[in-house]
Symmetry: C2
Subunit: 223 residues, 2 copies
């Protein structure tokens, strides 16, 4: 456990009442008084701040696009990445079991604590403070939003991405088909020249597995 | 279409910029510029205001109970009821097709417009104005919240409700079983002395159908 003072510096917000932050950093494995209620609250604060931002940033996008963008910004995967960026795992108080099993690295624990921190800032400093924090954490992701990309599937987006950079197209190969004929699982490998490793995806159809591979490659390329 | 001035009186909020309200009352069947984006925003505003209220009102309830209560308060059914209470259907601008088919009475159109009105108040008057509106609309529902009831199923709650009032217990009767043995649908009638009508429920099991009947009876009794 590092000091909460240091954490406040990292996130750029000083608490009037530090007990809010302490509670936000307490996982349920550590105490009965834990961050679950703050997580409930923070989830809604995050939803509103992101909705508001998308609403004004994308004045010409319809509600379907806004909803899909919001879903991708507030999903657990995104939140655990943001939590990792600020080293949140180092500050979370865990019970001894979770500590031994490396709970501070678990994505769901990180994502939940990230929402709890938002809830804590909201209770301590109001909606303005919470908005500042959220917008600063999401700045790159919000700046990179392209509403035209939302409706395209990952394979199409990857193809367009590579073509725009005069790169050769990806090669997808089915490497394994498991299960009985009515319930098969396809494993597909994908390769693109710019990434050194082979990327694997699985799915109930070849197409679905390929889309998964393409999405994974896009995630790597856009990092 | 009645005047928006009258509607402002009904909801107890005067818009600085009435075009927000006009947009909120325009269904997509009536115009390309419609209330769908405002609905997207209003949904998040509603989520935060209800979360915040539940968080402070139920200081001892855990996150699971708060989540279930929030879900039941913000679901479409609740919102369309609230919309009916303020006569929202009379003010919604619909295309001619929806108008003929009675769209102003459709629950989903009412619920969506209710969220859009919240979004409009939020943009016009900020989070404080939206909070006042929401809390005044939900006042009875928030006052009647009982966190101890959340985890009980409808049959148990109905039984307790009647016992507390020295009323005879409900009688459930299976009146129809349809479909093949692996895919049956049960129709159950329920009767309680205090309600003159027979209440019917359907479900894939007898138990499920009975729970549905009990929930319907509870809804009637609590009105």
């Amino acid at each position: 456990m590092q000091s909460t003072t240091k954490f406040c510096k990292v996130i750029g917000y000083n608490f009037n009442d530090i007990t809010f932050l302490e509670l936000a950093l307490t996982h349920r494995s550590a105490a009965t008084e834990n961050n679950e209620r703050l997580e409930f609250l923070g989830d809604s604060v995050l939803g509103l701040v992101i909705s508001n931002q998308l609403y004004s940033q994308l004045a010409n996008s319809d509600e379907g696009i806004l909803s899909r963008l919001r879903a991708s910004l507030v999903k657990g995967e995104t939140l655990s990445e943001l939590a990792k960026d600020i080293g949140l795992g180092d500050y979370i108080q865990l019970g001894s079991g979770e500590l031994k099993s490396g709970g501070f690295r678990r994505a769901s624990i990180l994502a939940d604590a990230f929402e709890a921190v938002i809830g804590a800032i909201y209770l301590d400093g109001g909606i303005e403070a919470a908005t500042s924090f959220i917008l600063s954490q999401f700045d790159t992701r919000l700046a990179n939003i392209d509403p035209n990309e939302v409706n395209k599937d990952p394979k199409t987006r990857l193809q367009e991405y590579l073509q725009a950079r005069n790169q050769p197209l990806p090669i997808y190969t089915v490497v394994l088909i498991e299960g009985k004929s009515h319930d098969q699982t396809f494993t597909v490998n994908g390769e693109v020249e710019v990434i050194k490793q082979v990327i694997q995806g699985k799915g109930k159809s070849r197409r679905f597995a390929e889309q998964q591979v393409a999405q994974k490659i896009l995630d790597i390329l856009k990092k």
